[in-house]
């Protein structure tokens, strides 16, 4: 019940932020659509294959991870920019395996998306326990850098009971 109420309130707050027009009609429509959305969501919870989204992430550690990720993004952006603007475009493309240690689906998604978000590396395929990663300038320290990112992502996961 609390979850339903909180979802409705969050949706309504989002409506208020996105609309910016505070006439009774628009606010009424916002309340109505929040309620309809929550009723639909409740009905979908009863479906046979319903899965609840669980977020096993430590909030403060996650914010710290974002800050760390921003620095990584800046560094690798600079690296790829240099390749693009250099006359001969010195590349060393390679497809290789990177093991992941995250236990939850969300943790794995965060790791895979972080790999893709930093320019120069893209997660291509998921296998049991490993990602296939494509890099545009593969070096001997590329795997170490990704292992470090893997450890950082695993650190923000709260342990699953």
């Amino acid at each position: 019940m609390l979850r339903t109420l909180l979802t409705a309130l969050t949706l309504f707050a989002l409506w208020l932020l996105m609309s910016g027009i505070y006439s009774p009609l628009i606010i009424g429509l916002g309340i109505a659509s929040s309620i309809i959305a929550v009723i639909t969501m409740r009905r979908m919870d009863n479906a046979a294959d319903a899965q609840r989204m669980q977020i096993y992430l430590k909030p403060i550690a996650t914010i710290r991870y974002w800050a760390w990720l921003m620095i990584e993004i800046a560094k690798s952006n600079w690296m790829v920019t240099k390749i693009i603007l250099s006359p001969n475009m010195q590349m060393n493309r390679h497809l290789f395996k990177v093991p992941y240690t995250q236990k939850t689906d969300l943790g794995q998604a965060v790791f895979a998306n972080s790999i893709t978000l930093t320019p120069g590396t893209i997660s291509v395929e998921v296998e049991d326990g490993t990602f296939w990663v494509h890099a545009v300038s593969y070096a001997s320290d590329t795997k170490d850098a990704l292992a470090e990112m893997d450890a950082e992502v695993s650190a923000i996961e709260s342990v699953v009971a």
Partner: protein, 113 residues
């Protein structure tokens, strides 16, 4: 010389550098030789270009509803951008496209010579 001017200069610095990175991403997409390396060039506009442009526009907006909307847009692109890049790469991989590996080619050359 007040805070307003400092924020104005800072925001234009962000917007101009963001535009530059978006342009560099576009140039890279054209210059790089094949599909797999082009994906990497495109992710420059998507990460650095997007983050810098949104930050610059947030500074222009000040503390207002506009900034909140920009931050929400930024968060969405932050999550959907890499997801769509992965989807494209994964679709290529699934349909049998394999990237040519410079690293393997180099190793082979070293082995024979």
């Amino acid at each position: 010389m007040g805070w307003a001017l400092v924020i104005e200069i800072l925001s234009w610095l962000f917007i101009l550098s963001g535009s530059a990175f978006t342009l560099i991403g576009a140039i890279g997409t054209l210059r790089f030789p094949n599909f797999w390396s082009r994906l990497h060039a495109a992710s420059i506009s998507e990460s650095a270009g997007m983050i810098l442009l949104i930050s610059g526009m947030c500074l222009q907006g000040g503390i207002s509803l506009l900034t909140v909307k920009l931050l929400i847009i930024g968060t969405f692109i932050f999550i959907t951008g890499p997801t769509s890049t992965h989807a494209v790469a994964n679709a290529a991989h699934t349909s049998g496209a394999r990237p040519d590996s410079d690293e393997d080619a180099r190793k082979k050359q070293k082995g024979t010579s």
